[in-house]
């Protein structure tokens, strides 16, 4: 036998083993973090299941999760005294199905394995002192309860946050689930509960607040307005759009109709006040154009996964491709005509392929109220050691600068106008400055169904608003512009009342 073919086979085998070595590096080094964070990875959880673990409490001291001593193989079990109320935020720790929520993202803090917690207990010089951490949420139990009561058994979500810090004050998604069976030491119980939840069609395991996205409908008009104001193609007063019952974009014969066939028009302030489809669609498609619309949407955090301390938040979407330029800009059509200008007209009023999470829309309202700065949303305020001393505090930070302060002021004026004299009058509150925007995202006409939206901010005269809210009620009967205000407005109003009643 010659050496030559043997060399070839050797080279082939060597290459095969090189491929194995490369893939081994990929799995064990480059993808390792990603694999460890995979939601179906239960290894870390199982290792931590029998360890002592600190509680999770709300900012007003209600215990959301705690460890109790039980008989059984592990001796410890996680208990969630509030049942389904915080299931999507605090999550669960299950031996068989893994962990989710803050239980997952703050696992190291709860089990006391962060350097800060280990050092702080070292300083106590107490032999075998517990190093577990207590995680304090930014959520307020009273607001969370109001959100749950108000939404009732309708599927949807309520998000309330502080525009100044990004701290989430309430975050409710219905339907929710009871995390207690999932935390059972008995694997069969946990698995059966999990399987039953997976089988439900309305998907109670998934938080609608930040893991699902919906047509934002007319609430998106504030972003179209922001694009117009930022790029300088319009002010609140100029130009004035004709009073019509619909708008037909270039390249199509299908008009975008106003709700109920009503006629509307006027300047930007009036368009927003009446939530006028024809004018806003024309503004976005013909004056603002694709580049500025995409830029404005992305400045408000669209197409980016929000940095959020609960795992699994999804990016809101705004389409970025409108084809090539067909007609150069003219004085009549300053944005020019693109292959997909008709889609841009739809997108400008929050239809087409635009979709947003309730968390994202709450952040939109918050950024406008906070001078254009969108703060990083978070649900954890601080981590305390067993002595109750804070060892790490969540720093406020700005995620995106959505618009400059001048444009933010104009948008703020427009949203206040919507509440004082427009479609959002339901949230008017004496003694407070409240701004808002309704949204009714039509899903179909037979039977008429739509997502009812309301976004709002509220605060005292002369101060930055303290509260920003997004309410989504999914798949409601009816499809008139009033739907958003009628269905979702009162929920926002109840949150505002609850927040400001004592302070």
């Amino acid at each position: 036998m010659n050496d030559r073919p043997l060399k070839h086979v050797t080279v082939v085998l060597l290459l095969c083993f090189c491929a194995l070595f490369a893939q081994l590096n990929r799995i064990q080094v480059f993808q390792a973090e990603e694999l460890k964070d995979d939601t179906s990875n239960t290894r870390t959880v199982q290792r931590d299941f029998s360890r002592p673990r600190g509680p999770i409490v709300t900012s007003d001291g209600v215990v959301v999760a705690r460890s109790i001593t039980v008989d059984g193989p592990f001796g410890i079990e996680r208990q969630y005294p509030e049942g389904d109320l915080y299931a999507h935020v605090a999550g669960y720790l299950s031996f068989t199905v893994g962990a989710d929520g803050v239980e997952r993202s703050y696992n190291d803090e709860l089990t006391g394995r962060t350097p800060a917690l280990e050092l702080s207990s070292l300083a106590q010089v107490l032999g075998d002192a517990e190093t577990t951490g207590e995680v304090v949420l930014t959520l307020r139990d009273d607001l969370q309860r109001v959100a749950k009561e108000q939404l009732g058994n309708r599927p949807g979500s309520v998000v309330a946050l502080d525009p100044r810090s990004g701290a989430v004050l309430a975050m409710w998604s219905a339907p929710s689930f009871d995390p207690n069976p999932l935390a059972s030491q008995d694997g069969a119980t946990a698995n059966a509960a999990y399987a039953a939840l997976l089988e439900q069609e309305d998907n109670p395991l998934r938080s609608r607040a930040f893991r699902d996205i919906y047509f934002p409908g007319s609430t998106f008009k504030v972003i179209t307005a922001s694009a117009a104001l930022s790029s300088g193609v319009a002010t609140l007063g100029e130009p004035v759009f004709p009073i019509v019952d619909g708008y037909t974009p270039p390249l199509t014969s299908r008009p975008i109709a106003n709700f109920g066939g009503r006629s509307c028009g006027g300047n930007l302030l009036e368009l927003l006040r009446a939530s006028c489809n024809s004018g806003i669609a024309q503004l976005g498609a013909e004056l603002v154009g694709p580049q500025e619309m995409v830029r404005a949407a992305q400045a408000f955090g669209f197409n980016v996964v929000p940095p959020f301390d609960v795992p699994g938040a999804v990016a809101s979407k705004f389409p970025t491709d409108y084809g090539s330029l067909l007609d150069e800009p003219t004085p009549e059509l300053p944005a020019g005509v693109y292959e997909d200008t008709p889609s841009l007209a739809q997108a400008s009023i929050g239809q087409n392929d635009v979709s947003a999470s309730p968390l994202q829309m709450a952040l939109v309202a918050a950024a406008i109220a906070n001078g254009g700065r969108m703060q990083t949303p978070h649900v954890v305020a601080e981590v305390r050691n067993v002595q109750g001393r804070a060892v790490s505090v969540t720093e406020n930070s700005t995620w995106q600068t959505a618009v400059d302060a001048g444009v933010a002021t104009e948008l703020r004026i427009a949203m206040i106008e919507v509440v004082e004299r427009g479609t959002g009058s339901v949230v008017q509150t004496p003694g407070l400055i409240v701004g808002g925007k309704t949204g009714t995202a039509q899903l179909g006409t037979d039977p008429p169904k739509s997502h009812a939206w309301f976004i709002a901010f509220a605060g005292y005269e002369g101060q930055v608003a303290e509260l920003a809210i997004a309410v989504l009620v999914e798949g409601q009967e009816g499809a008139s512009e009033q739907t958003g205000g009628r269905v979702s407005g009162p929920i926002a109003k109840a949150i505002i009342d609850a927040y400001f009643q004592e302070s």
Partner: protein, 427 residues
């Protein structure tokens, strides 16, 4: 240094590594050294010294690397199996002992491998019979959907593991006899020269054997290995790339047809392409293996400190993932290198072999071990669809371990004869 001295030194090292790993595993799990650590080290040393003495007595001139590498793989595998499932530890040590008996018997009773060439057609018959035995009703047995088992008293054995060796010996004999014909050129198409089509016969036979194994016994891994073995040996004997291409084409055809025809093949491919789509169902095994490896990272969790028992079928198909978890990238890479060293040593035996038959047999068996290690590790790492074959010397399993030790003995026997030929020539 003389090969036996090298072998003895490396064997001592392998037993220290094995006993050290055994002790560390226990330290990791129970924070104490196992009570039987001293007897354990004694038994490991005794077994390896026994093998060494057998080689020294019956094949004194043989290569000194093969046995230590095999012992290292076997030792590490044993420690991991005992750690994963203590109930398998006793039987794995029994299999190791029987494997070493098989090793000894091969060296004692087969002093000259060329004898095998004389019985090549009987070997072909024996190989095919071994392969088809599990299909006979009554003695055949189906485990996890694969009909590759034979019930013998309280044990289950996989005759296919032994069929591989027998068929490799047949092929070596057949190819050495016919290689002039097989390598002749009948047609030319530009730069390509093709042999006479009738000499594609052996390839067709390989293909049908592979197909039978896959279709009737539903054993994808062995089917792939048989076919690879045949194509590699055909290429080694004839140097004809045409056979390799024809082999690849036939394999692609067979693979595609079986993909279309059989659910279980489709399912395997589907899991391979999208393991994370059903991480709790179909993809569970492979996804857990990846999680285990990720947990291990570069340096591993440490022996006894990981949770490798979460990986389904860890002691057999998935043992590489279990080792990768507890010993990390470093340990898993050491394992890959050990296999490469074994392949290198085996091919050197083939290169130096005293006769063409022995050269081809050594090369074929070495390639078989090499490709088998590749196929199963590639399955665990998602490089290829997962097929259930054992990791040679490492995985749990009697038939596999015994047949691997027989392969080892054949390589050592061939190596010994070539060194004696050299000595004859030198003097």
């Amino acid at each position: 240094m003389r090969p036996r001295t090298v072998e003895l030194g490396l064997l001592l090292l392998a037993s220290i590594v094995t006993a050290g790993a055994y002790g560390l595993t226990s330290l990791g799990r129970a924070a104490s050294l196992p009570a039987d650590i001293v007897p354990f080290l004694g038994i490991v040393l005794a077994l390896l010294l026994l093998a060494h003495v057998v080689v020294r007595r019956f094949a004194p001139g043989a290569d000194g690397l093969l046995l230590p590498i095999a012992s290292f793989l076997n030792g590490l595998g044993y420690v991991m199996i005992a750690r994963l499932d203590p109930s398998l530890a006793d039987s794995q040590s029994a299999w190791t002992f029987i494997g070493l008996l098989g090793f000894t018997a091969t060296l004692v009773f087969l002093p000259d491998m060329r004898r095998l060439a004389e019985y090549r057609y009987s070997l072909a018959l024996l190989g095919v019979t071994l392969l088809l035995l599990p299909l006979l009703p009554g003695i055949g047995k189906e485990i996890n959907g694969a009909k590759i088992w034979l019930r013998v008293g309280a044990f289950s054995i996989q005759p296919g593991e032994f069929a591989k060796i027998v068929l490799a010996a047949f092929l070596a004999g057949y190819l050495v006899e016919k290689r002039e014909l097989l390598a002749s050129t009948a047609y030319r198409f530009g730069p390509f020269s093709l042999p006479n089509p009738k000499y594609f016969g052996p390839l067709l036979m390989a293909w049908s054997v592979a197909l039978i194994v896959m279709v009737a016994e539903r054993d994808l891994g062995s089917s792939l290995l048989f076919f690879t073995l045949f194509v590699v040996m055909l290429y080694l004997a004839t140097e004809r790339v045409a056979y390799v291409f024809a082999g690849l084409l036939m394999f692609a055809g067979g693979a595609y047809a079986s993909f279309r025809m059989f659910d279980h093949v489709q399912k395997r491919v589907d899991i391979w392409l999208h393991p994370f789509e059903d991480p709790k169902g179909a993809g569970y095994q492979i996804v857990e293996a990846s999680f285990a490896l990720a947990d291990g990272g570069i340096s591993g969790t440490g022996l006894g400190l990981g949770t490798p028992s979460k990986i389904p079928v860890a002691p057999t198909d998935m043992i590489f993932a279990a080792i990768g978890e507890e010993l990390g990238l470093i340990g898993a890479t050491a394992l890959l290198i050990a296999f490469l060293l074994f392949i290198g040593a085996g091919f050197r035996v083939a290169r130096l072999a005293a006769s063409p038959f022995e050269a081809l047999l050594a090369a074929g068996l070495t390639a078989l071990i090499g490709f088998q290690a590749f196929v199963i590790i590639a399955g665990v790492l998602r490089v290829l669809p997962l097929t259930g074959v054992t990791l040679p010397f490492v995985s749990y399993g009697g038939s596999s371990l015994i047949s691997n030790y027989i392969v080892l003995a054949i390589l050592i026997r061939i190596s010994d004869r070539s060194s004696r030929q050299d000595q004859l020539r030198a003097t």
